[in-house]
Symmetry: C2
Subunit: 608 residues, 2 copies
């Protein structure tokens, strides 16, 4: 038995070693409960629950047929196709007119992106039929290191939502060009790979480092392989021999592919494609197009990656991606297999992903395989949600920690004033520019200086952008000019600043930038929108500066209000509160700004 070796980590009795993680949630006394399950399956012990009168989608075969389902404890004991056995049980659930599908599996999600804690995330996604998630807690890890990963494990323990963990590989993604609140080297990652419920090394975002075999990144990958863990990928636009190199390094999944030819190339290369459908990216229609070229798809699963709280309430969770695949012509039996059995297979979670004897009883009853709205959701044999609402509230395993994580040096308006010693008159400056497809480029702009200081107001399409170190780093904020954000006045600031989660701020004036940044710092993290010195909207995220302690509807309301005001100031995108959050991400093409300055993300160098 592998155990957590640090006695200070009480990760608990309800989670076992990796072998047990992969076989579900077996606990002490398993042999006895297994015997009782077998007795119930063969008819010598009363079943606890019968799901009667409905149809079943068999994800092994792709068939739909009438079947009663007999549950004992937390597992499926027997499936009675055609009602041959006359099952009886202590409780009956009327499933007439409904179809049972397996509980859905999200193969890659950052809970922090929904701005809530794991229990509140579970409260929100269970009613949509998601019963298992594989999380990458790399947002909180970049803020608070191992303590953050431990919190995500502890706070998800015993929830009806099964939470498996991949260990963040990119804390930070590229230490040479950014600083975060923590740094994970190969040894730290190897130690965490032995923790319970850990099923992989999380997305190796430094895909350039993998292809180049930079020593740190290669050593992290090797630590994962040595533990027999999957290496999760992140490889936007990677193709050709660089894609081969990435796969040769042992990284074999991706959720970043964009157009269908990229998806086809990656599927052919043996890479698992996690169909990502979320607030910011839509892969399902591209995947559906790709599947038209593929006679027998195999290596496909479904994930959400990042989903904002309002969007989650409005559009659903994994069901959303599956729905789009089906709308786009993918056979529902295949689309649902991707979101269930395939996800389980990918991570070796043998007890999940199907409705069959011996499997854990995670089941969703839907009215239609096309609509896929969850009418009843069962997790571990218990009814946890009906018609979009939890049937009983959950218990939070631990209170949210890390409520004091924003540590910045004192700000002044000067912090965001751009200077070029000696410059006067018009100057040609290199600036950042956002492209239509959300990649970024270096561009140039003509700007006026006086006495070495950039003159305001800025031209209409430009803003200042800065990353303020918020993990107690001793250096000053970085500062650059940005075209294409859309902000016409005021400033926006947030500690949701992928992935190092410093404090990023963009604005038309240094004064509003300072006000917005200070407001975020004063809240202990979150987002603030300011114009003419006034705070127009805010989202409070005091848990590690990333999450609220409130439930999704409360956070969603703040986000909606924020987004409405932000749109009025010209910010676009599906969730304007996050309009600048990815501009600090040094593993997204092609130029970004970190706390250390503007970086070329392909060469992984600071731009002078």
């Amino acid at each position: 038995m592998r155990r957590v070796s640090r006695s200070s980590i009480a990760l608990g009795s309800a989670v076992g070693d990796k072998a047990r993680a992969r076989w579900g949630t077996e606990q002490k006394g398993d042999a006895m409960s297994r015997k009782a399950l077998v007795e119930a399956a063969r008819g010598d012990r009363q079943l606890d629950l019968i799901i009667r009168g409905g149809d079943l989608l068999n994800v092994y075969t792709g068939e739909v047929y009438a079947a009663d389902i007999g549950i004992f404890g937390d597992r499926i004991a027997v499936v009675d196709q055609g009602q041959r056995y006359g099952l009886t049980g202590a409780v009956e659930l009327d499933a007439r007119g409904m179809i049972a599908i397996p509980g859905m599996i999200d193969t890659h999600v950052h809970i922090e992106s929904t701005m809530v804690t794991p229990p509140n995330f579970a409260r929100a996604v269970l009613p949509f039929g998601t019963t298992t998630v594989v999380i990458d807690p790399h947002e909180i890890a970049n803020v608070s290191g191992q303590a953050g990963v431990e919190y995500m494990l502890r706070s998800s323990e015993g929830l009806p939502l099964r939470v498996y963990v991949t260990i963040p590989s990119s804390v930070p993604a590229v230490p040479e060009i950014e600083t975060a609140g923590a740094t994970f080297g190969p040894e730290a990652i190897a130690a965490m790979l032995a923790w319970p419920r850990v099923v992989g090394v999380a997305e190796l975002m430094d895909y350039v480092g993998i292809v180049r075999q930079s020593p740190r990144t290669a050593a992290i990958a090797e630590a994962g392989l040595a533990h027999g863990q999957t290496l999760e990928g992140h490889a936007p636009l990677l193709g050709g021999r660089e894609l081969a190199a990435y796969l040769a390094a042992g990284v074999d999944s991706d959720h970043e592919a964009r157009d269908w030819p990229e998806i086809v190339e990656k599927l052919r290369a043996g890479m698992w494609i996690y169909c990502r459908e979320n607030t910011f990216r839509r892969m399902a229609s591209g995947l559906a197009r790709a599947l038209q070229a593929i006679p027998h798809p195999w290596n496909v699963a479904v994930c959400t990656d990042d989903i904002d709280p309002a969007d989650l309430l409005d559009h659903g969770h994994i069901d959303r991606g599956v729905r789009v695949l089906i709308e786009q012509g993918v056979d529902p039996a295949l689309a649902i297999r991707f979101a269930t059995l395939n996800g389980a297979m990918r991570y070796g979670l043998h007890d999940l992903g199907a409705i069959a004897p011996g499997k854990l009883a995670d089941i969703v009853l839907v009215d239609s395989l096309h609509d896929l709205r969850a009418r009843v959701v069962l997790a571990g044999g218990q009814i946890v949600a009906r018609d979009g609402a939890l049937t009983n509230d959950l218990v939070d395993p631990v209170p949210p920690p890390l409520q004091n994580s924003v540590h910045i040096r004192p700000l002044t308006d000067d912090s965001f004033r751009m200077r070029r010693p000696g410059a006067s008159g018009p100057q040609t400056l290199k600036i950042l520019a956002i492209n239509a497809n959300r990649t970024t480029q270096l561009d140039e702009a003509q700007l006026s200086f006086a006495n070495g200081e950039l003159q305001l107001p800025l031209p209409e399409d430009l803003v200042l952008i800065s990353v303020v170190p918020r993990h107690g780093q001793p250096h000053e904020p970085s500062l650059a000019l940005l075209r294409g954000l859309g902000l016409r006045e005021g400033a926006i600031a947030t500690t949701v600043a992928h992935d190092s989660h410093n404090l990023i701020v963009a604005g038309r004036t240094p004064e509003d930038m300072r006000t917005a940044a200070q407001a975020v710092a004063d809240m202990g993290g979150g987002a603030a929108l300011v114009a003419d010195g006034a705070l127009l909207a805010r989202v409070r995220l005091p848990v590690a500066g990333l999450m609220s302690a409130e439930p999704v509807p409360v956070v969603a309301a703040e986000v909606r209000a924020f987004n409405q005001r932000a749109r009025e100031l010209g910010l676009g995108g599906t969730s304007p509160v996050l309009a600048i959050s990815s501009l600090a991400l040094p593993v997204a093409p092609f130029f970004r700004i970190t706390d250390l300055g503007v970086v070329n993300t392909l060469t992984q160098e600071l731009v002078g």
Copy 2:
């Protein structure tokens, strides 16, 4: 790192812990070789071998297209669809006119059934394109316990054939009604599950004990689940709630299903079906029929289980089953996926089963996906066979042991004389009878006794059958009458007597039975055919009484000669040398004879 804990077992450097087993054959210095592989993949280091000008079957997508394959070391570095990269390498292999498919995987095989040692088995199957086998060494384990399992590991170490091991669960299958040369309890099995290259608990043949949850068998299953290992099944004719019970116990594969409705029921229940096509059983046509009912097959792999040496040479190995599936209408892309990627997935062998960057370079070049004859076979990037022959001979890792394993008490003609104290004249006796479908029943026969002794000659359709304890047990041989064997004269004896491998002998006269049994004992094991006191044919199997130290063609020649003589005496079946070998198997329906007497295999009781 898990290591073999007994210092007396030098299972060696070339095999790692389980994690490494699942990720292929990584060795010390992996990180360095991984770096070189990545460099070769991206084009910064010369490739070792190019397979140029051929087509490729992509098992992920089901497509066939032109592609060059670049190999570095033992892995595939890059696949060049449409020759875009202009790959160059130290060696080139001309694949024009050929199609590359992944090396095939046998998900369940008893090497002992081919009557050769692992190196000789590898010599025979590699030319057919099988590059990985998952063995169940339960024949040798029933003779010599852990030492037998160790021998199978040691003797397969470093071979180009990748040999993974499942730990025999049925040593013996039902200890209450048979005795073998060893007994494995749950503790012994748990210890062996930690050995290198171990990927599961081998077929739980005592399916009755699983369904009933008999303490020993349930504890063996639980040991496997606690180790996160697959539990392999053996469940002929099991259906309905008993099948549910078997699956609920965690056993989720089967290679014994017979007709297509049984196959469909098991696939629907989530059971892996290993399509078994061998000397004795043919599942492929039934599976092909079953697949007509299944829109999207998933849980299917291919195995051989038991294949006799002559049959292997004549008809091939895993390619044979795949060929039949294709002949019966299964899409070649799916049939080959079953025999490659699916087998790898079933056991979590992530580095096997596909031709893609990073995978181990086990590749078969065939002329046609329908014919599937292996023209060139590569294992770990090395060409190991061409046109049906090895390109270089292999090295036997260790000499064959256990050449003195037949320990019987002195035999006399009286050993096989049937007595009923006091009986005289015609008597009605219960006898064993072989049914047309190879199951067995109890039947009755009228036989004449004088002075308490059965009178000879026996009626035409009857023989005497006996199981002689050969593991040093202190008891006398069992003895019964059998109808339906076909033997018209003489006797046949063999130490291949599933699965306890005592010495089974059947004959028309006690004298010939004694002569045959003694001949087998004198050879140290094997099979003997006797008539009128003369030895007509023999197969010498001195290694544990199950295997020869000679290569397959030598053993096949002995088997062919034996079979020809045996047919002349009336013995039928595809391999008459094994005509009585399964009659001692107490987990086959419905009545068998063990060393303890006639047993009812459903109630697991001795018949009076």
